[in-house]
Structures are given as C-alpha cells and as structure tokens.
Amino acid sequence: MRTFLDFEKPIADLEGKIAELRHLSSTGEINIAEEISRLQVKLDASLKQVYGKLSAWQKVQVARHFDRPHSRDYLTGLIDDFVALAGDKAFAEDPAMIGGIGRFRGRTVIVIGQEKGADTEDRIRHNFGMARPEGYRKAQRLMRLADRFALPVITLVDTPGAYPGVDAEARGQAEAIARSIDICLGLGVPIVSVVIGEGGSGGAIALAAADRVMMLEHAVYSVISPEGCASILWRDGEQAKTAAQAMKMTAEDLKELGIIDRIVAEPLGGAHRAPELAVAAVGDALAEALDELAGRDADSLRQERRMKFLRMGAQQGA
C-alpha cells in the first residue's frame, strides 16, 4: 500500500481507480483496458503537473517519503561484489552508517551511506539514519582505506541530521563530524557525493565535502530542518513551510547558489514511484563524475576541491 502525501490527492484518486480496474480486467472485459490507458494518460499529466512545481516544503515531504529508495537500495542496485565493512574499530558499529568496498561499473570503490531503514522496526535499528560518532568515525576509517588503495569514494547522503543524544555527545559528535569534513577535504582520491533524500545539516556535510556534490531532483539539503528553523527564528514550528522556502534547500536553489554541481532527474512522480529508475539515474551520474575525475593526481584533486569550497559564498551578492 502506497503512502500518499497531502498534495497528492488527485494522483491518489487516479492511481486508486487504475488499481481497481486492473483488478477487474483479470475478469477479461475488453473496454476496461481502454479505460485504464485513458486514466494512465491523465495520471501522467497529473504527476507531471504536481511534481513539476513542488514547493520547498512539498519536496521535504517527498525527500522523507517512506517508500523512497535508501542507501541500501543504491548499494544493491549499483555495486557488485559488495563487501560490507562494520565498525569504527574504537567503540561500536553504527547501523545508521553503512559502507564497504565493491565494484561499481568496472571500478573498485568505497561506498559510504546513511541508511534510514525500511519498515518501522528496521528504521529503529538504523536510528532513522541519524548516525552517532562511531558512524562518522567508521566513515573516516573507510575514507582512509580508500586513500591507502587509491580507490574513489562514493557517499550517499540521507539523514535528518547527526543523532542528538546524550551518548553521542559524550563520545564527541562534534569532533566526529569535524574530523569527517577534515578527512573528506584531505582525500587524495576522488570523492563524489549524492544527496539522495535528506541532507540534514552537519551530519550531511560530514560526508559531502566532495569533488562533486549532486542532488536528486526532489532531495533537500539544509543547515537545519525547516521545523527547527521555524521554531528558532519564527518561534513557531508551524512556520516550517515558510522556513523551507526561505532557507533555499531544494536542488534547484542549491545549484543556483553554486553549492551543488548537478541535479539528477527523478522518475515521474518521484523516486519512490520507480526506485529502480532513480537508482539507475544516480548510477549514470556517478559514473560520469568518476570518469571526469579519473587519473587525477592527489594534489590537484585536493587543490581543486578546496578551491571549489573557497569560492562558495564569495560569488553571491555584493
């Protein structure tokens, strides 16, 4: 059963009708097939219309959609011979941060991603994609491994943010994030990041200080959640919609601000309607980025990565 978002009412109606007719068509009436294809055209038009002009707040809903493909889906769909590697070798394994080594379209790569989990139980196990310091330290360890074997790094960003908990603070969440950024920026191998869902604040940039940063069309990336921003600046959590707009957190906004390098188009109606298409699109974009970066020496990679971040902000306004 698909979860529908509140702005998907006309879509839900059409999809419901089509499903009903499909069920009936197994009984063999001919004019039902015609009716289905007529409704399908209407549905596509409706999806195009609604998804063509999603507001920032609507994109937040899509980015957090329950059925949206997660890091694990990208690993399964894109990486062959995958060997998952666990633990930070200091304290614990963090299921919110998955990663390992595998083959991506002919290249051995290190992949690191935040995993939100599928059903409720799984989500709890993965802590809803909110990594603890051990998760970030695991990411650091994998990045160092990549450096040692001259392997490119792929990171998949999908987190509401780093976990705000007593244990996380006790083990140095701030240091863990700071060090991850430090290591990303110091890598002598290519690092390419894709924000596949939610890019939540420090917990996101910890994996995304990269040579190429891409976002899926309906992904969001921001300094704080719109709810958090609203409750601090507006002193009213209900203003999340307004805050989402004001913060400029959509892929389009970020491309315009020069923060990301590329927007990866999603299948009609969002990645959750055709996960395998979304996974393939991300795969193509990753392959292109890695091709561009292949063969570059460590120093020029580092220098160019730095220059890219140093330019940010300087080009806007006065």
């Binding site: 700071a178 920026l185 996101a204 940039i205 601000l257």
Partner: protein, 335 residues
C-alpha cells in the same frame, strides 16, 4: 588582591570603555551561577570571573584578546569584504535589520575579530568569536574572516589561536552557513600544512556548526571552566530522548572526562598556558620558559599570587599545567 598586573589594568579599563558593554561603572551585576551581586568594576577587573564562586561569565572580545598578548598589545585586523544577506532572508524580521541592530549594539561589523601580536615573544594571530553579535553565529562573513586570519597567520609565520563562542551556524544564510564548516576546515588545514600550531580555546558556549568544524580541530584544545560545549543543543536532546540530562552534561569538565578536550584552563591562567604551549611548540630547543630566570625577553606575565604559582623546588617556576583547572588565588595543591 587582583591577580591582574597593574600594567595591564589601565589598558583593560580602556577596552571595557570602548567595548560592547555600556554598563556604567557603578552598577552591580548578578553572578548567574551563585546569584551574588558583584560590583561591576570588580568583575571587569577580574576578567569577569566571579569572586565568590569562580564562575566564568561571558567575556567581551576585546578583553579576551587583551588578556593573552604580550603587554596586552595587539593590532586589530580589518575584516575582508563578504556578501551581505546572500539569500535575501526574512523571518519575522529582515536579516539585514537584525544585522544592523547587532552592528549598532556591538559597534562591530561581524561576529568575530582578528588580532595580530605576540605571545611569549612569538608571533600570534588570534580570532575571537563575538557571542554578543548574533550569538557568534557563523555565516559567509565569519567564514571569510576566519580564512583571512588563517592566511595572515601563515604570512606572519604566526601561531593561530581561536577563541570560540558561538551558538553555531547563521541560519539566515541557510546552506551557505553550512558550507562555512568546510571552508573553516580548509583554513585549519592550510595552517597545519604551514607547520604552524593551531590552538582552539572553547569558551561558553561552543555549539552547533562551530563546534562541529574548526573548534574541534585544534592541535591543542583548551576549554574554559564551566563552558557549555557540544554539538546538539540541550533542549533538542531532551526532546529527542525524552528524559532529563545528566548533571554537568556538555560542560567543559564533562568533555574533559570524556576525552574530548585536552585541558581546562582558568581564565586567569589562560595567557600562561598559551605562552607555554606557543613556546614549547615553536621553540623546541629552548630552556624551560617558566624555570627561574629563564623568561624570554619582553616577557611579562600577569601578576599571580605567590602561593599559587610557585614550584616546590624553591625556584620561580609555577607547577605543571594539568588538565583540570587549578584556580589561581585559591589553595592549590602542589605536588
């Protein structure tokens, strides 16, 4: 008797006069920790450390910098130009209005200042984040200035010292404020590659995007006693875990216990600590700095009570610095 030398005190008064606080000299201030009333002038003369309970109140950026440089002498460096209001942001108020208000109130253009001088007769460039200015929050201008300070340190072959006091990212600059975490980290990397020390001092409060970037990347990380230091805000954590927080949570002492800072230094001993670290790291073949008469030329330490900083060997040397603060002027255990 104040531990601050007479040489420093008149200058301190100047900074206070020119600084952000416009409290007249005859007012009393209440200590937020012990709630005792303290005569304003006394509080300032003690660098805002409570005479009753030793609580470290927040300190203005000028006094902050004045207390660490040799002879309290330093030159303020102009901040680089940076885009203003890049997102055309407006919440209940326009961001430029909030900025203007902060500028008027503090007499500063942004939430940090850069100073250039000497510490222990060695060049040092220091940055102090200004919590009075929009909570010391980090936007493009702060990031740009931080980078400029790091570059200045490299140019002057100077130690890079940063006093953190910040609630985190400047939300009104959205994603651009988040990017400052990467940009300031690059600044730290440049200093590191130049072979220069980067000393980070975490004062109250150091949280959010500032704590999760340059604040936690120091070669040596010092915290002030009682400073709140952490990534997530206490309220957010409480709402997430739905239980009350342990005593002393996110305080400097808690971080020390959990291995996240190198040492806690009492404000009155901060200069001494910085002189020591700066000299040890940059003059690896020199005689001990604080051993009897071996003070480097031009060195003038803040006056300290004799019982507080004298070694037991009958020399002039103060005891080793320990991770836990040993307040000057209190009975101090000397091994």
């Amino acid at each position: 008797m104040s531990w601050l030398s007479n040489v420093v005190r008149p200058k301190l008064r100047e900074w206070v006069g020119a600084g952000s606080r416009s409290v007249p000299d005859n007012l009393w201030e209440k200590c937020p920790a012990c709630e005792q009333m303290i005569f304003h002038r006394e509080l300032e003369s003690r660098l805002r450390v409570c005479p009753h309970c030793d609580h470290h109140l927040r300190l203005g950026v000028d006094a902050r910098l004045g207390m660490i440089f040799d002879d309290a002498a330093f030159e303020t460096v102009a901040l680089p130009k940076a885009p203003v209001d890049p997102l055309k942001f407006r919440d209940v108020r326009k961001y430029p209005d909030r900025l203007k208000e902060a500028q008027t109130r503090t007499g500063r253009s942004e939430a940090l200042i850069i100073a250039n001088g000497q510490i222990g007769a060695l060049p040092a460039v220091a940055v102090a984040l200004n919590f009075d200015f929009m909570g010391g929050s980090m936007g493009v201008a702060v990031g740009e200035s931080f980078l400029a300070a790091a570059r200045l340190a490299i140019e002057k072959d100077a130690t890079f010292i940063v006093f953190c006091a910040s609630g985190g990212a400047r939300m009104q600059e959205g994603i651009l404020s988040l990017m400052q975490m990467a940009r300031t980290t690059i600044a730290v990397q440049l200093v590191r590659e130049a072979g220069l020390p980067y000393l980070a001092i975490l004062t109250d409060p150091t949280t959010g995007g500032v704590s999760a970037s340059f604040a936690m990347l120091g070669d040596v990380t010092i915290a002030e006693p009682g400073a709140v230091i952490g990534f997530a805000g206490a309220r957010v954590i409480e709402q997430t875990i739905r239980e009350s927080l342990p005593a002393g949570f996110q305080k400097a002492e808690y971080l020390l216990e959990h291995g996240m800072v190198d040492l806690i230094v009492h404000r009155s001993a901060m200069r001494e600590a910085l002189v020591r670290l700066n000299t040890l790291l940059r003059r690896p073949r020199l005689e001990p700095i604080f051993a009897s008469a071996n003070e480097p030329d031009g060195e003038e330490l803040p006056e300290v009570p004799d019982d507080g900083l004298r070694g037991e060997r009958g020399s002039e040397a103060p005891p080793a610095l320990h991770a836990h603060p040993q307040p000057v002027g209190e009975d101090r255990v000397v091994e």
